[in-house]
């Protein structure tokens, strides 16, 4: 290929030795044409909204008055410590979010990795079970969260199940979402239930791409099932664990749809998370001038997500 181009266009070749990369004019034109739609959409839906969101975070506005009042970094200070109304709410939401961020990735890995191992070891049932396990992801949305609400009711199916298993003492007479001390753990379980399918499938995909000679070699060396899993499969699948942890951390930090639909932060503020708080400040605060606060909280979440991504990547690089 390069031979043909050098013969045809010697001057271009000479010019290219100055720069690092050699561009062909037609290829650049095609490149521009191919990325243009993505860029245009991003310019309209992305650049504008991001710019607007950043500048709004330095102002107060209630959405109706014609002008913004510029307040500099006050919104950020109010959220983090200064405001007696908002800072305590944000602190509690941050604590709840932290619990979700710790529990969801760990539990998701603890459930989906063994599940993928087990599923990979069976033949006939695999396809059917894979579809069944995937149902929670496919239907993740308001419909399924309503179903969870229904079975978590005071006289719902979960309490019934506990009673029939002889675990009556674990029943929640006010319902699992009504009791302040069980509401957040319950939402964590529901979140894990929704996030296991994709994680399990990623692990399964990883297991299927593991070179089988590695396992045979370990078997010949006399390694048992546990040793193979711990010393061969788990290290090999570490990059996938990294992806799963990162995706779940991000969703735990920013996601709030389950919380909005199932508890709307209640009882009290016991299941309020940062994403939900930002949503409430933007859409549920009527005429209070909290849009700037909402925007500032959103950007704090963005900064946290970037920091997390960097840390996760560092940790993974050190581990592998």
């Amino acid at each position: 290929m390069s031979a043909a181009t050098t013969v045809q266009r010697p001057p271009r070749e000479r010019r290219a030795t100055r720069g690092r990369t050699r561009y062909h004019r037609s290829e650049v034109a095609w490149g521009a044409a191919f990325v243009a739609p993505a860029i245009v959409l991003f310019a309209v839906m992305g650049v504008y909204t991001i710019g607007y969101g950043v500048s709004l975070s330095f102002a107060t506005w209630n959405g109706f008055t014609p002008n913004w009042t510029w307040v500099g970094l006050h919104n950020y200070a109010d959220l983090l410590w200064a405001s007696p109304t908002y800072a305590p709410v944000v602190h509690q939401a941050a604590l709840n979010t932290l619990w979700v961020m710790i529990a969801v990735p760990i539990l998701t890995v603890l459930v989906s990795f063994p599940l993928a191992l087990l599923l990979n070891s069976v033949g006939r049932m695999r396809t059917v079970l894979r579809s069944v396990y995937f149902l929670p992801y496919v239907t993740a949305g308001i419909a399924v969260y309503f179903a969870w609400q229904y079975i978590l009711e005071p006289d719902g199916a979960i309490n019934l199940l506990l009673r029939s298993l002889g675990l009556g003492s674990l029943q929640q007479p006010q319902g699992f979402l009504g009791n302040p001390s069980t509401a957040l753990p319950t939402l964590i379980v529901v979140t894990v239930w929704s996030s296991v399918p994709v994680s399990m499938l990623l692990y399964l995909a990883g297991l299927q791409s593991v070179d089988s000679t590695l396992i045979e070699a370990a078997q010949i060396d006399g390694a048992g099932w546990w040793r193979i899993t711990r010393n061969v499969l788990w290290p090999l699948l570490k990059p996938i664990t990294g992806i799963i942890v990162l995706l779940n951390l991000r969703d735990s930090l920013q996601g709030f749809q389950t919380f909005l639909i199932m508890t709307n932060g209640g009882p009290g503020n016991h299941t309020n998370v940062l994403g939900l708080e930002a949503y409430r400040l933007a859409f549920l605060s009527q005429l209070s001038p909290t849009l700037g606060l909402s925007s500032a909280l959103g950007w704090l979440l963005f900064i946290a997500a970037v920091i997390l991504a960097v840390i996760t990547q560092r940790a993974m690089r050190r581990a592998t």
């Binding site: 290829e27 991003f42 070891s121 308001i142 399924v144 309503f146 229904y150 920013q254």
Partner: protein, 297 residues
């Protein structure tokens, strides 16, 4: 390759003899435990759905009494009535329109972009690619409000394009990442060969790259279609006219009645959930292969 072909017969011969011998009690016990654990998680996955279906077939007295999974007096009345109350077909068509157009645009726009990122050489390519991936970390809730305000200005708020465009833009990072990886895995010789035959970029893209990446395209289609079908946040804050509602919003309105009837709500939930399940079952073969491809790349 040649070593593998030599090694294979011996290995498979071994497997055959092993299979013919009666499995030892220990092996049988292990298999039973594995099967039990797998079925246990299947039950966990299905549990809310079982009760959803159960409530959908109960009348409003039985659902309040609760207590048993299998309805004593199963009735189709609840489903039929909810079907009417939900105006299923109108909202189904709205949901279908939003989902189908979103998926179509995602596939067209980002497969083209991924082709450029993967095979073409042009200035600022890596910077642009990184920019799109960085969008993965911008929280949806942060841009939700600006999107609503912008669409209000553009006159898009309240109509379906006001949902489709942000959905498409939002799925840029993952789609570009997966498709670029898929295109990277296609040998450059194929492109060279096509160019020798006189094919331009557009033809190479459409006749070589796209057909070879079908599993990844189907995977992206599903990964876009499922969340779009279930989307609730932006939809709820941007649609006002009941004629434009999608199924999740229609379902939510069932709940906002004076008295909460769980049988009606679960019947509605069941009706909303079935189309996605059908779609997934139809496409799941590609889906799994596509994800495997994405992980390998």
């Amino acid at each position: 390759m040649s070593t593998a072909t030599i090694a294979r017969p011996a290995a498979s011969g071994l497997a055959v003899t092993r299979r013919r011998a009666r499995p030892s009690p220990r092996v049988l016990a292990t298999r039973a435990v594995v099967a039990l654990l797998l079925l246990l998680y299947a039950a966990v996955s299905l549990y809310p759905f079982l009760w959803m279906v159960s409530a959908a077939f109960k009348n409003q007295y039985e659902v309040v009494a609760g207590g048993h999974l299998i309805p004593h007096h199963p009735t189709l009345h609840t489903l039929a009535q909810t079907w009417g109350e939900l105006h299923f077909f109108d909202y189904f068509l709205n949901s279908l329109k939003v989902t189908a157009l979103t998926v179509l645009l995602v596939l067209v726009i980002y497969s083209a972009a991924a082709y450029a990122f993967s095979v073409l050489r042009f200035p600022a390519k890596r910077a642009l690619y990184r920019l799109f991936l960085a969008l993965l970390f911008v929280p949806g809730v942060t841009v939700l409000l600006p999107v609503v305000l912008l669409e209000n200005k553009l006159g898009l708020l309240g109509n379906h394009w006001g949902l489709i465009l942000p959905f498409v833009n939002g799925s840029a990072p993952l789609s570009i990442l997966m498709m670029t990886n898929a295109f990277d895995a296609i040998p450059a010789e194929l492109r060279e060969a096509a160019r020798m035959d006189g094919a331009g970029e557009l033809r190479i893209f459409a006749t070589v790259y796209l057909p070879l990446s079908r599993p990844v395209l189907v995977t992206i289609a599903l990964l876009t279609a499922i969340p779009t079908w279930n989307e609730y946040l932006l939809t709820r804050v941007s649609l006002n006219n009941p004629g434009t509602f999608t199924l999740p919003i229609a379902l939510q309105n069932l709940q906002s009645g004076a008295v909460l009837h769980y049988n009606t709500l679960m019947a509605g939930a069941l009706i909303v959930v079935i189309p996605v399940i059908v779609l997934f079952v139809a496409a799941q073969r590609y889906f799994v292969n596509g994800l495997i491809g994405a992980v390998k790349a």
